[in-house]
């Protein structure tokens, strides 16, 4: 296989998903496509040649030369404030990829599927449910998505539409810090009880993908194993700020 070469993409759209998260739609020349769950490396270059590289999950389903990244702005970050604050339509962005061959799902891998996301960690899971819908897949899928508040939920309206499509996808939210008046859903961090209520029984042998901050991923993966799920069918990806939780 040849080297993953750096490509100069063009920003075709910038969408503000919430106060901290921006979706960048990119047109990537000669893009070979990607699998849902894969990521790209992004490289920024200053005028004096200084460079900074980071990895971002692809949030869009495979779609020709179009790639969408959901970027959460981290106040002490170096790359995310630029991507989520400075980049505009028509700007160029250097990237290479796709990267990663384990945290990926396609319809022919089957299910049932349990997707567990925290915060902007929902991005690669979004690529999976979007691809599932685009291909007409009926694989039974449950998405459990933890956010701080309703305003923090990314892709909220699109997830409502996908959930309402009646094709075997259900979306369950938990809001850990603030809930709107009349909220009847979960209002705490994901725990074993919630995983039992929302997820599949271990005997149904679901494929599980967990993505979010380290603390969420460690806790959820440990609870799933304790509930009796096969560790080999639980795939994890850490997402968000680096550093200890």
């Amino acid at each position: 296989m040849g080297r993953l070469s750096w490509r100069l993409s063009e920003v075709t759209d910038v969408r503000h998903e919430n106060a901290r998260v921006v979706t960048l739609a990119l047109q990537v020349p000669d893009w070979d496509g990607h699998l849902p769950g894969q990521h790209v490396d992004v490289r920024l270059t200053a005028e004096d040649g200084y460079q900074a590289e980071r990895a971002y999950s692809i949030a869009s389903a495979p779609d020709g030369s179009r790639v969408e990244l959901a970027v959460e702005r981290l106040d002490d970050g170096e790359v995310s404030p630029y991507l989520a604050g400075e980049l505009r339509r028509g700007d160029q962005l250097e990237l290479r990829g796709p990267v990663g061959g384990y945290f990926v799902w396609e319809p022919d891998r089957g299910g049932p599927l349990l997707l567990v996301g925290g915060g902007s960690g929902v991005a690669p899971l979004m690529a999976m449910v979007r691809h599932r819908a685009a291909t007409g897949s009926q694989v039974p899928t449950r998405l459990l998505y933890s956010s701080r508040s309703l305003e923090d939920v990314i892709f909220r309206e699109e997830l409502e539409r996908l959930d309402a499509a009646g094709d075997g996808l259900t979306v369950t939210h938990t809001l850990t810090r603030a809930q709107p008046p009349g909220w009847t859903g979960y209002a705490r961090r994901i725990d074993a009880v919630m995983l039992e209520e929302v997820g599949w029984r271990p005997g149904e042998r679901p494929l599980v993908y967990v993505c979010g901050p380290t603390r969420l991923v460690e806790a959820v993966a440990g609870q799933l194993v304790a509930l009796g799920h096969d560790p080999a069918r639980v795939r994890t990806e850490r997402f968000g700020p680096t550093g200890v939780p």
């Binding site: 750096w6 200053a46 061959g101 850490r238």
Partner: protein, 205 residues
Amino acid sequence: MGGFISRGFRGRRRAGAEQAARLPPGQYAESGFPVLTAGPTPRVDLADWRLKVEGLVRNPQEWTWEEAHALPGSSFEGDIHCVTRWSKLGTSFAGVSVDTLLDAAEPLPEASHMVAFCYGGYTTNLPLEDVRGGKAWVVWEHEGKPLPAEHGGPARLLVPHLYFWKSAKWVAGLRLLDHDAPGFWESLGYHNRGDPWREERYWGD
């Protein structure tokens, strides 16, 4: 792609000269210790923990936790580099040198490579020249404390001159071979050797 400038990007994490000299290309200094794993963290009871050296050796070895700690100790102080771009400068680990483990097992002359295998099923491959001569350890302490499970405890391999996915967490043993055999990430798009100074991140780099 030479000459491209990211409009409006100035960079906020420029390292000082001394730090910059220690950072391989594309890396930045990270003060924390990020956790990256492909699956759930295995929990290994110390009473059940074993460390093996097997394959092309004259005397296959298997140590218990107490027996491994009775081997001559060895420590590392220096820098580690993760393929996800963070480097941790000036950290330390303690355990036992891989030289000590291999010497006890007496590798056969035809042994040229090894696969580290782990609790949880992870594997990674290394040529013996990358783990011989004081370049690799099996460690159970990080900065003076027991290695936490999410960082590979009870014990992990430590090969600090290569990207950190080679430093396999939850190591259970070393299998010596007369050929190379790509491990988990090496079969999924990541570079077979992973030298950070040559920026060997992915296949073809």
